[in-house]
């Protein structure tokens, strides 16, 4: 296949991937964030300790996480049809992608939120803050750098899953590589697709890391960049003494 033949197909595939991954990420974040926070709050010793709710959510998340995506997609066919009115195409692929993304992101949120120092929660409690205030003003903002890193991981995982969306005619880059590259033995085309995917994933990872780090640096836990540190070393020794303590 020549480049002129390839180009429109590739463009189409890129757009399909963008649509599938974009929407499913949005839904996964919207659904996974409250779920992950709820997992922390309802856990033993949590602010809304509730063993039953905690166990039920935990189980649902575990089942969602352990199900291979291709099986989930097939199992959800009738649900997908009910939601989108069709069970084939990019739109139809968004539903299983989002549903597998929610528990994935929820677990990452849980880990991120658990990292937040309990002392901060206690401080807001001592000011008379309620649980909702604690979630809004402490847990989410303080976990934000980790949450952004988790979102990056989720996006990349969903790009991987979206390759399987070809099974329901979802299209996208992965499916394109399989159909044209693998099944038609056009290895040149396959490698081009792989290269595009690699570039896309690198860009997403870089952007995510950058966003997380710049937030983190504001929080200052990672300290100044090496270059800044060199500049600072030239300050009089006394200027930094206070900052160590």
């Amino acid at each position: 296949m020549t480049w002129t033949q390839m180009q429109p197909l590739l463009e189409q595939a890129c757009i399909e991937t963008l649509i599938m991954v974009g929407w499913s990420t949005l839904i996964a974040v919207a659904g996974g964030l409250p779920l992950g926070v709820l997992l922390v709050l309802t856990d033993r010793g949590g602010l809304l300790q509730n063993t039953l709710v905690s166990k039920v959510i935990g189980q649902i998340v575990n089942i969602g996480r352990s199900m291979p995506f291709i099986i989930l997609m097939v199992a959800l066919t009738s649900f997908t049809r009910w939601v989108t009115g069709t069970s084939i195409g990019s739109e139809a692929a968004i539903v299983p992608l989002a549903i597998s993304g929610i528990p994935f992101f929820a677990r990452l949120v849980e880990t991120a939120v658990r990292e937040v120092d309990h002392g901060l929660v206690e401080a807001v409690q001592s000011m008379g803050g309620n649980t909702w205030t604690i979630v809004r003003k402490v847990l989410v903002p303080e976990a934000l750098p980790s949450l952004i890193a988790s979102t990056t991981t989720t996006v990349i995982a969903l790009i991987g899953y979206s390759a399987m969306a070809g099974a329901v005619g979802g299209g996208g880059l992965g499916d394109f590589a399989v159909r044209y590259g693998y099944q038609r033995f056009d290895s040149e085309l396959m490698w081009i697709t792989v290269a595009i995917l690699a570039v896309v994933i690198s860009v997403i990872q870089f952007a995510g890391d950058f966003a997380a780090r710049s937030l983190h640096r504001r929080g200052g836990r990672s300290g100044p960049s090496p270059r800044l540190r060199l500049l600072r070393a030239k300050e009089p020794a006394g200027a930094d003494v206070g900052k160590v303590a």
Partner: protein, 354 residues
């Protein structure tokens, strides 16, 4: 500045008990604690780790729910507001917003600037944006950090962080400030400046401060009253001069440690405790002149607490106890508390002046 202490009790706990249950085991952290903190005083609770100090201070604003007993702050029975279950009801949350709290590890939100951290309690109280920022800047000025309003906590030193913590704790105009080991993560120099700040706020705002600490120096530097905790109980409590007046008080001897052994046989070693008026009299030189005896001072710890000289001194008189009954009587007549340090007569060691 004059002391603002009144006789009204602003924090009272009675029969406060806290039992932690985990995996079938029970640990009693508080075992019937009765605490009375007067309005406008700085009250220190001192004890080793595991003595129950942390549980005590957390029970005062009900961050920890006591197993039994009551907590009254500013006339309001908080334990009655507690409601059931682990969640705090609206009334309890409102009561908490009137009690400031500072923490050992500052507990500032790293995602917010210094000013936004101080504004947080005001956001919770529902204060308008303009008022919040006015109040926050005013408080930052009060703690000497007006120029750091836009900085992030990570850019501050430990002492500065604690100043922000204090400003934040004062945002809700509390009558009571709880300090949970506020200086334990700081170096001695910074500790002194933070304690001085707490002392100033206590005097300027009439703020009642309840602090817990494991450092005797903290009690010595700023406390009007102190309590010694051990194994979930309050072993001793009272104002610093009351404690000094208590024969055999562990707190008094820890606050004013005196050492020194007798230099030989045929010597009488006495511990003299000064408090109140007697401290201003030149008793030692009077004793020496009146009875024509040579007195050696083995050790002394004297401090000015609440404008009065208080402290202890260990002196040595020549001769055995029997030979010194008259001089000792003279000292007791001056209103001093005398403890005779003598292993052969342990019964006399705890004999008091009154």
């Amino acid at each position: 500045m004059p002391s603002t202490v009144t006789e009204t009790h602003v924090i009272t706990t009675s029969g406060l008990t806290k039992v932690y249950r985990s995996r079938g085991r029970e640990v009693t952290a508080l075992d019937g604690v009765d605490l009375h903190v007067r309005e406008g005083e700085v009250y220190g609770v001192i004890g080793q780790s595991g003595a129950g100090k942390s549980s005590l201070i957390r029970c005062v604003n009900l961050l920890e729910r006591p197993t039994s007993g009551t907590v009254t702050v500013a006339g309001q029975d908080l334990t009655a507001l507690a409601g059931r279950g682990p969640r705090a009801g609206r009334e309890l949350r409102q009561a908490r917003s009137r009690i400031g709290m500072v923490f050992q590890h500052f507990n500032l939100l790293s995602s917010r600037t210094v000013q936004d951290n101080v504004e947080l309690p005001l956001e919770i109280l529902g204060t308008s944006g303009k008022e919040r920022s006015r109040k926050a800047l005013e408080l930052l000025d009060l703690v000497g950090l007006a120029d750091k309003a836009k900085a992030y906590p990570a850019q501050l030193s430990g002492g500065q962080k604690q100043r922000v913590g204090i400003a934040r704790a004062l945002a809700g105009d509390p009558k009571v400030l709880l300090s949970d080991e506020a200086t334990s993560a700081l170096d001695p120099e910074t500790t002194r400046s933070i304690l001085q700040l707490l002392r100033d706020l206590n005097r300027q705002l009439g703020l009642t401060v309840l602090l817990i600490t494991h450092e005797m120096d903290v009690v010595k530097q700023i406390c009007d009253s102190a309590a010694l905790m051990d194994d979930g109980r309050i072993v001793e409590s009272g104002t610093v001069s009351e404690l000094l007046a208590t024969p055999g008080s562990e707190l008094a001897s820890a606050l004013f440690p005196v050492g020194g052994e007798a230099t030989g046989d045929e010597r009488t070693v006495l511990d003299i405790t000064f408090h109140g008026e007697s401290a201003t009299q030149p008793v030692i030189s009077q004793l020496s002149r009146t009875y024509n005896i040579d007195i050696s001072i083995l050790g002394a710890a004297i401090d000015t607490v609440g404008g009065l000289q208080v402290g202890r001194m260990r002196i040595e008189l020549p001769g055995r106890y029997e030979d010194n009954v008259v001089p000792i009587g003279f000292l007791r007549e001056q209103g001093l508390q005398i403890d005779v340090v003598n292993r052969e007569q342990p019964a006399l060691v705890k004999e008091g002046a009154k």
